[in-house]
Symmetry: C2
């Protein structure tokens, strides 16, 4: 058995023994590698927190069976050791976790069905999310956005739910574009029931993705956990319709915690299904968008053809995710050495050294004898 | 003739000899008083800039005739020397002018018809403005806002135009509230033609106001000049519907320049008449509002019954206009003495001394040996 096969079997086992997100287990795997970690978990030879996360299911060793059945259903397990692993976007989860955000541990692996390579599909991807009980207005707009994003080669990610999610996937499919469905249940769960044909189509052209092992049933808490993957794997999330207490607002909150761009579409003030979007915009948690041009502009794609020249909400909106993290790690009051900025931002020191002069050129940072400080942004 | 009569006649003359805004003339009157200024303007004994503003009409001395005819039409000329003069809100014009904003010279006097006292009507007033070519959606919302603001005792100011303006006035009237129409023509111009009955009703219950002498015809440039008065006399301006290049966006821009709160209502993304509102919100120039509660909250009326607990867009949104001016006059980098803050803010030194400890208490300012500095606001 190759090393990669051993790692894949180990991660298949690890995905099944702990309910995601499992921060202690993820840390343990990071420390010892998947093969050693799996072996030690199976005999409960691990720190108490890891034992807590894995105690209930550590005897469930269906790893090879899961992999065989998945292969029969044209489903693969993509692991961090694979070239296809979307390492860069998922880094936002580790960074947020390092900053103390809870419930954002990275996935240990991802079950995937479909021809789209994950590392390619995440490139410039946009998430479209929203209420299941959407109105005709919302579904129309979700489908239009899905269609026009996909037409421009932008992959459309969503959660395959009824309402906005389904309309967004269908819009992208009708433009022959890439669309990716992130599930809060096993890929084989056949959920939601009336979307089995839709999911089959997505699995033939894009990708259906889940961190839950085959057979895992859908549950509300799993949708919330899944939401962190929708947010992490995309550059920005658009909430098309949401009630005041919608799960889509949860995705938006997670996206913000991950430093991603959050956008919301307005609608009639009389529509309860736009109330959540209006609240996000009003409270400064989302940028109002009405078109694909505005989405691309807000997501920092200023150079895109068709992008309109309206100014971004904040000056720093135009910074890439890495530059933004470096910028966040600067202080206005006192200069910091590059090493400290690297540590605070989680960006490698070489990249920090390359990015700081760029930030200086753009007026975001200034150099001094003892390090770098943030320049106050004018609004 | 009493001094006040002489001043009123002088200002009646001055309103007619220069097209507002007439910054040089306003400065000249401030320096010499209206009686001396009028006398010197009439014989062209004034600085070149004042002469330029008054050259074309200085021979038009219809002051007493204007006052007599106005009185016959139940119209009065309210002058800064009167107790009714809304001195405090109009101060925002002088402050903006002092900061270099152009086209915001204060009015020399105001023609007023109606039982509402101007100094009382401006208290907590809200402006509702928007497109003439409004949709049914926009007119419905303007009327609803006018009605519910007036029901809570909030005076509703607007420009008496077709569309949003008229609907807002009518809404306020239907709640038996105070509504004030600011015109870009003489009060007697009978414009807009189909709003003569509306204007008559407003003149019987609230006030119709104009700085233009009787007989002045409506003109596009006068509507824009009039817009500064709508913005100055109210605490905040709500744009209900506006096309991408609407005059309502001009009012919004002026209100912002005057440090007033600017709000906009969202609508369907497919509606061209909501596009201007969406652009204002998206570009950070207006706060999204969907209800009277949100308007009152945004305008800083957090303690109002019915105000909902959502947070304001910026921390400083909760500051009153005077405190905000003091806050704006502070520097984050170096402390400033109270005298300089008074000079920069245009707020009297005694008020500055009272407000600074309040700003300190709320975390907006900090005291040092050499003065006061602004504390950086976290967002």
């Amino acid at each position: 058995m190759s090393e990669l096969d051993a790692e894949r079997i180990a991660r298949s086992y690890l995905l099944r023994v702990a309910e995601p997100p499992a921060p202690a287990l993820v840390g343990f795997v990071g420390e010892h590698g998947p093969v050693v970690a799996a072996e030690r978990v199976s005999r409960a030879d691990c720190p108490p927190k890891v034992r807590d996360e894995t105690a209930a299911r550590r005897a469930h060793d269906y790893a090879e069976r899961d992999l065989e059945r998945a292969a029969a259903a044209e489903t693969r397990l993509v692991i961090p050791e694979d070239g296809e692993w979307p390492a860069w976007p998922l880094l936002s989860l580790a960074v947020a976790q390092g900053r103390g955000v809870s419930g954002v541990a990275p996935p240990l692996a991802l079950w995937v069905r479909g021809p789209a390579r994950l590392d390619e599909a995440v490139d410039q991807a946009i998430a479209i999310v929203g209420a299941r009980a959407a109105t005709g207005y919302g579904e129309h707009n979700a489908a239009e956005l899905g269609y026009h994003l996909a037409s421009r080669g932008i992959p459309v990610f969503s959660g395959a739910a009824y309402g906005i999610d389904g309309a967004a996937h269908r819009g992208a499919l009708s433009a022959d574009g890439t669309t990716v469905a992130l599930l809060g249940c096993g890929i084989d769960a056949g959920y939601p029931a009336q979307h089995t044909t839709l999911l089959r189509t997505i699995g033939k052209t894009g990708a259906v993705v889940s961190e839950y092992p085959p057979g895992t049933s859908p549950a509300r808490h799993r949708f919330l956990v899944r939401n962190r993957l929708i947010a992490a794997l995309t550059e920005g999330t658009v909430v098309v319709e949401a009630g005041r207490r919608s799960g889509a607002r949860n995705t938006a909150g997670t996206a913000r915690a991950l430093g991603k761009v959050v956008m919301a579409m307005p609608g009639p003030v009389s529509s309860g299904m736009s109330a959540g979007c209006h609240a996000l915009i009003r409270e400064g948690e989302a940028t109002l968008v009405t078109s694909v041009d505005e989405i691309l502009e807000t997501a920092g794609r200023l150079g895109e053809p068709g992008a309109d020249p309206a100014k971004p909400r904040r000056r720093t909106d135009r910074l890439g995710p890495e530059a933004l993290r470096v910028h966040d790690a600067l202080s206005e009051r006192s200069p910091r050495p590059e090493e400290r900025i690297a540590a605070e931002s989680g960006v490698p020191i070489e990249r920090v050294r390359a990015l700081l002069p760029e930030l200086e050129f753009d007026g975001f940072a200034e150099r001094s004898d003892t390090g770098w400080r943030r320049r106050p942004t004018k609004t």
